[in-house]
Structures are given as C-alpha cells and as structure tokens.
C-alpha cells in the first residue's frame, strides 16, 4: 500500500511522464529539416572558419618567402 508521500511522488511522476509523451507526440507531428535550414547551419559555422583558415594560410606562406 502506498503511503501519502509515496502516492504524491507517483502522481507527480505520472504527470511528468504524460507531459513528456504529449510533448514528444507534438514534435513528431512537425515537419523535418529543409535544405535551406541545413545550408544556413553550415554557413553559420563555415564562413568564420573559412575566413580564419584563409588568414592563417596567408600568414603561413611567410615560411616559404
């Protein structure tokens, strides 16, 4: 038999589990990644990284001068 504090914790756990399931069901109904989103994600990190690599490459050429 459940004591009072245990009963409260079981109820709380059930509520949280239900909330999680509902949320997961909601997200599963949404659409997936578009090509634009994918390109934007890569450009967001790719542009600064490429700029940095080019800067370093230019500086590295001093070794061969």
């Amino acid at each position: 038999m459940l004591t009072a504090p245990n009963w409260v914790s079981v109820q709380r756990r059930n509520r949280l589990a239900h909330k999680g399931e509902t949320h997961m069901a909601d997200t599963n109904q949404q659409t997936g990644t578009t090509g634009m989103q994918l390109a934007l994600a890569w450009l967001f990190v790719g542009i600064p990284l490429t700029w940095g690599v080019i800067q370093t490459l230019i500086n590295s050429m001093k070794l061969f001068q």
Partner: protein
C-alpha cells in the same frame, strides 16, 4: 527552462542528421578560443603603463597561469560533470557551457577593469574552464549516436572546430583590441565583454539546433552489426565500471603520450625552429611555420578520425605511435644535415597526429565501452590531456635549458628531448597493442539496457556489478 530537457531535444521524423555537426561546431569554435589566449598576454602586461610595462603591471609568468588553470579545470570538470552531461542531454550541457564561457569572459573583464589578477584567474580560468570541460564533451556522444556508421568522422568534425577556433579568435581579438584601445587605454576589458557576449550567442545557436535521435533511430540503409566484432562492442559499460578496465587505462596512456608529444612542441615551435636552423629560419618564417602547424593540427583531426572509420581505431593509433617514433628520430638528423624540409615535414606529421589523437579517441571509447556512457567516459579520459599539459612543456623546456646550461649548442639542445619523445611512443605502442575487447563481466545488464533505451535516458542505469 524545460526546453533544455533531454526529452525536448528529441528529433522529429525527417530531421536531417547533418545539422548536428554544425551545432557541435558552434560550441567547439567558441571554446577553442583558449588556444588563442596568448594574444592577450602582451597587452595585459601594459594595462597600467600603456606603452611599456609599469610597476604593478602583470608579468608574463603571472598571465601564463590563466591558460594553465583553464586547461587544468577543463580536464577535471569534464571528468566530474561527464555523467551529468550524458544524462541531462546535449542541450542542457551546451547551455551550461555557453553560460560559463560567457560569464567567465565578463568576470575577467571586471578583473582587468579593477586590475586584479585573481579575479581573472577565477573568471577565465575557473568558470571559463568549467565551460571548456562541459562544452568539449557535450556534443560528442550525440554525434556518435547520429552517425553510428561513421563515428570517427562525426566526432572529428566537431573536434576539428576546437583546433580551428584560434584561427578566428586570434585575428578577431587583435582587431577588437585595436578598436577599443586609445593612447591612454588598452581595450582588453572591452574585448573580453564583446567576446563573452558573441560566444554566448554563438554557442546558444548550437544549443537550440542540436537534437538527439529518437530511441531506436538508425540511419537509412544502416544495419547495425548483430554481433560484436573483435574490437567493437554492441554492449555498454557503465561509466565508473570503465575505470576498472585495463582498456580505459591503456587508452589513457596512449592519449597522454600522443598529447605530450604534440603539446610540448606547439608552445616551443617558433623558438625551436629558429634555434635549430640559425640563419635559415627567421622569426617571420618561424611564425609562418607555427601557422602551418596549426592548420595541420586542425586538418589532422578530421583526416585521422575519418580514416579510423575505415582502418579501425587500434590501427590508427598504431600509425600514430610508429610514425611518431620515426618522425621524432628524424628531427635531430634533419637538424644535423641542415634539412629544413625534413624538419618541417616531420613536425607537420607529428602535429596532425596530435590533433588526430584527440579526434579519434571518442570513437575508440565508443568501440570499447558502447555508446550509452561514451560522453562521460570521454570526460574521465580528458584528465590525460591535463597531465600531458604538464609533461610536454616540462620535457621540452627544462631539458633544453639543462642542456644549454651544460654547454650543449642551442642547435642540438632539443636532441635528447626528441629521443625521449620517441621512447614515449614505444611505451604508447605497447599500451595500444595490449588493448583487447572489454571483458563481458563489465557489460551492463540487458534488462537495464532495455529499460533505458525505452526511456531514452541513462539516469536509471545500473552498473554490471550493482
């Protein structure tokens, strides 16, 4: 803050897994700034004197501690928070890392403003160091779960960002300091504030776009091996049980040696090149050599980690140990015959393997201990980096000084160190050769695995012996 919960970052159907590497790069491109912290050293020695150091200004050794504390805290925060990162999910971990990293910069800016080095140690070194540790391991297991077919390549891409971050941070910091500096003021504090805010925003973008695969998700066309191969397990090992296996400590030794060999020469590369080839390599050319080394450090992370998907992790580390031994034996010979090309090539190979070692090790751990706790186990392994951060510079700098003090010409002062490094690779070779599949008694029980797979979390995990 429930959007940070693990359950809220489960990917919906149709989510493209190639969005996850940019999310990981958002974090690693920011925290890798640590490699470029030295650009602040000189300006921070003149905060009071402006044109030259004045009494009361900070010295270079005092400032050197900022980076050392950050790297030390990185290793230990990764070890301490590894399990929390694994169980809380990548979004919560990335958010925490962004918060620590950003606030670390803001506290340091305050420390610079009031000119108190202890505040900077606390801000960048301690708080920022925690952000470094959590941020470094946060995307690793997520990437491994999204790319079970190419785990090396996936983690290689993220950890490549850590190596490449200095390329962005270094010129950006110099430009910002120029922008905020006047004839009576050096704009270090303002630069820290801008960097703190920019890095926080950049890392939060990563935290928002990162997703976990739904339980049971597999890439299209991928068939998971039904049985474990010789060195790739299909079971999981509980994080603290991994510490009881000889495999963990063998990989720890191999990583520590690989990092020791690289980290020692990174800091001393410019001086070493000029001293070994006086008149042939000028200060400007040496700066170019350092730049080329950092490019190979970054490229090696992607190249070696991707290669390991084809040749296997153990074979990749065999390559590191054998090539490392040969390259370190070659350096004194190149110096003796005055071959700049031989010297440069040897160090470029060594430094590519230094980066490659970092990038390949998460996949090695996944092969040995499974995917469930790979992030947490990786966190524990990072302590090898902290130790190597002490061994490497000590081996290079102190032995060089000892030789010079005993009359050895500067051009030959590094030879003993090179042979010691080559000897370390022999130990690493043996440690790598000893790595076999983890004994089944360390594997987590099947019923626990099934429970947690259903929940999509590792919180309910019970170790094999529990």
């Amino acid at each position: 803050m429930s959007f940070l919960d693990r359950s809220y970052s489960i990917a919906k159907p149709g989510f493209n897994r190639w969005v996850v590497p940019p999310a990981a790069l958002c974090v690693h491109l920011c925290i890798g700034q640590a490699y470029a912290f030295s650009v602040f050293n000189l300006p921070m020695t003149k905060l009071l004197g402006i044109t030259q150091p004045a009494p009361g200004d900070w010295s270079i050794p005092e400032l050197g501690w900022i980076f050392s504390i950050a790297i030390f805290v990185l290793g230990f925060s990764a070890a301490i928070f590894g399990r929390w990162v694994e169980e809380g999910g990548p979004r919560r971990a990335m958010f925490t890392a962004a918060l620590c990293w950003g606030i670390g910069f803001l506290i340091s800016a305050f420390g610079v403003y009031i000119h108190n080095i202890w505040v900077v140690y606390f801000g960048y070194g301690f708080i920022g160091g925690i952000g470094l540790g959590i941020g470094y391991i946060s995307p690793v297991s997520t990437l491994i779960k999204w790319f079970p077919d190419r785990p090396g390549m996936a983690t290689g891409m993220a950890i490549m960002g850590f190596g490449g971050a200095a390329f962005i941070a270094s010129p950006l910091s110099v430009w910002l300091m120029g922008l905020f500096s006047t004839s009576t003021h050096i704009g270090v504090a303002e630069t820290f504030i801008v960097l703190g805010v920019v890095y926080f925003v950049f890392m939060m973008v990563g935290a928002f776009i990162v997703r976990l695969p739904a339980p049971g998700w597999k890439p299209e066309g991928y068939v998971a091996p039904a049985q474990a191969s010789k060195l790739i397990t299909t079971s999981d090992v509980y994080v603290y049980d991994a510490l009881k296996t000889p495999q963990f400590w063998c990989i720890w030794i191999v990583l520590c040696i690989n990092v020791t060999a690289g980290i020692g020469v990174i800091g001393q590369a410019s001086a070493m090149a000029q001293e070994m080839f006086p008149g042939k390599i000028t200060a400007v050319a040496a700066a170019g050599f350092v730049g080329l080394m950092s490019l190979f450090n970054m490229a090696g992370r992607f190249f070696w980690a991707s290669t390991s998907d084809y040749i296997g992790r153990k074979n990749t580390y065999f390559c590191f140990m054998v090539l490392g031994f040969l390259m370190y034996c070659t350096v004194p010979y190149s110096g003796s015959i005055g071959s700049v090309v031989g010297f440069v090539l040897a160090f470029l190979v060594i430094i590519s393997m230094y980066g490659g070692g970092f990038a390949t090790v998460p996949a090695y751990l996944r092969d040995m201990f499974g995917t469930r706790y790979v992030g947490a186990i990786h966190g524990l392994l990072i302590t090898a980096w902290s130790m190597a951060g002490i061994f490497g510079p000590v081996l290079v700098n102190y032995i060089r000084q000892y030789n010079i003090d005993h009359g050895v010409p500067k051009a030959q002062a590094y030879n003993v160190t090179m042979y010691i490094m080559a000897g370390l690779f022999v130990i690493g070779f043996i440690a790598n050769a000893l790595i076999k599949a983890v004994d089944a008694r360390y594997h987590m029980k099947a019923d626990n695995n099934a429970d947690r797979a259903q929940l999509g979390v590792g919180a309910a995990a019970k170790p094999a012996g529990a």
